[in-house]
């Protein structure tokens, strides 16, 4: 097994006494494509910024390409592409000038890829960045992050200001020239359909923790909602239980990640009138972040 690209252990971070990360454990291997979900304020951006060494952590450990992010070597730095949520692009430069500026930082820069993307995504290269639209700025930030063919791509809500067609173009680029190259991709998003298309794994954050991390295929196959009368359900508990609610009519609603060992138990419950149904990612998100 190769060393993880990124490893976070029990990472904690607070801002002026308010806890933002509350014990993050995350390990990413080469070629992993993971989508980070969570409600606003769950800690997604903070986690990504800490992973990159942009923020100091209060406790825990982070290894990025085997090094501390706070003292990252030039070689490792050159393997990372990052698209922040806030575009800090150099507003007074033209798009072309800005890309030329960043090109100088890297020993490797994929000129033909950058030119092709500028053309395909219709970015006016000679216009001052301040005059670009929100969507154009976002696409430009993505081009900048892809220019040096990074091995780790971290995207903080990369498509927030793109329309559906723009998002589809971006996903296609991600698949054709990034994921096919075994690049590790971490992206936070609120758009579940994008995540389901390209991610292999999902992590759902809540209150500064990763509340659920699973391969998408596992969730589709094993996430189940059980609805049954209180009398039956109160006697039942599951290892992978994610949420449990009771309605006024006396029905208990449990969402659970079913393991192999549970199948007998489920069959018995169904015989007692309990409804067992699959749970989509959106419902799962609601349950986990409730």
């Amino acid at each position: 097994m190769s060393q993880p690209i990124l490893e976070m252990k029990s990472v904690c971070k607070s801002y002026t006494g308010k806890s933002a990360l509350n014990g993050i454990d995350l390990s990413l291997t080469s070629g992993q494509v993971i989508g980070i979900l969570g409600r606003n304020g769950a800690g997604k951006s903070t986690m990504l910024e800490c992973a990159l060494g942009l923020r100091e952590i209060d406790a825990g450990q982070i290894k990025l390409f085997g090094e501390s992010p706070a003292a990252l070597s030039e070689a490792s730095r050159a393997r990372i592409g990052y698209v922040p949520q806030q575009n800090d692009l150099f507003e007074w430069l033209t798009a072309k000038q800005m890309l030329a500026y960043f090109r100088a930082f890297y020993t490797h820069w994929n000129d033909s890829k950058v030119a092709a993307l500028m053309d395909r995504w219709s970015i006016p290269g000679d216009r001052v960045i301040a005059k670009l639209s929100g969507g154009e700025k976002q696409r430009l930030a993505i081009i900048r992050a892809l220019g040096h063919d990074p091995q780790l791509l971290i995207l903080d809500e990369p498509v927030a200001s793109l329309d559906p067609a723009g998002r589809r173009d971006f996903l296609r680029e991600l698949i054709e020239r990034t994921i096919e190259q075994e690049t590790t991709v971490v992206f936070s998003t609120h758009i579940l359909s994008d995540l389901e298309r390209v991610a292999l794994e999902v992590a759902i954050m809540k209150d500064g923790k990763i509340a659920l991390q699973q391969p998408l295929d596992t969730l589709a196959e094993c996430a189940r909602r059980l609805i049954g009368p209180t009398t039956v359900m109160n006697a039942q508990h599951f290892v992978g239980e994610l949420s449990r609610t009771e309605d006024a009519a006396g029905h208990v609603n449990v969402v659970v990640i079913v393991g192999n060992h549970d199948s007998g138990q489920l069959e018995q419950l169904q015989a007692q009138g309990v409804i067992v149904e699959p749970v989509g990612l959106e419902d799962l998100f609601i349950e986990v972040t409730r």
């Binding site: 698949i175 994921i179 389901e196 390209v198 991610a199 292999l200 295929d217 589709a220």
Partner: protein, 136 residues
């Protein structure tokens, strides 16, 4: 010998996002149906993992997983230099009874939803008949 070029990925496959079926499983089921129905015959080549991933805008690993499962199940075989093709033992379209079995899961889902919507049996059957005729 002239080999038939593989059909385009979009002509063979479609995926529905947000479905409770994982994407790889949707692809597996679609290939099984196409082979069982005879639209894909033994020796027919499948589009490459890369082409399918690009056309459907899904992760190539997902397509690869579907192809591997179909290979393990003996539906597809890996051909040197070509890629994936329909396996030899699948030269004949399956018997009608087997094909009906493949339709069952989809119909069961439809039956559940029909019951939830409190639609009577005859109305549901009428609708299915209408849809079938429109596809002919």
């Amino acid at each position: 010998m002239v080999t038939k070029p593989p059909p385009s990925a979009t002509a063979l496959f479609s995926v529905s996002i947000g479905s409770s079926d994982p994407i790889y499983k949707q692809l597996v089921d679609q290939v099984r149906r196409l082979v069982a129905g005879g639209q894909l015959a033994a020796g027919d080549e499948l589009p490459s993992v890369r082409d399918v991933a690009r056309a459907l805008v899904v992760n190539p690993m997902t397509v690869s997983k579907a192809y591997s499962q179909l290979e393990t199940a003996g539906v597809l075989e890996r051909r040197r230099g070509i890629g994936m093709a329909v396996a030899a033992q699948h030269s004949h379209a399956k018997k009608k009874a087997d094909r009906i079995d493949l339709l069952r899961p989809t119909l069961e889902r439809a039956a559940t939803e029909s019951a939830q919507l409190e639609i009577d049996t005859q109305s549901a059957l009428d609708l299915f008949e209408k849809i079938l005729k429109a596809k002919k």
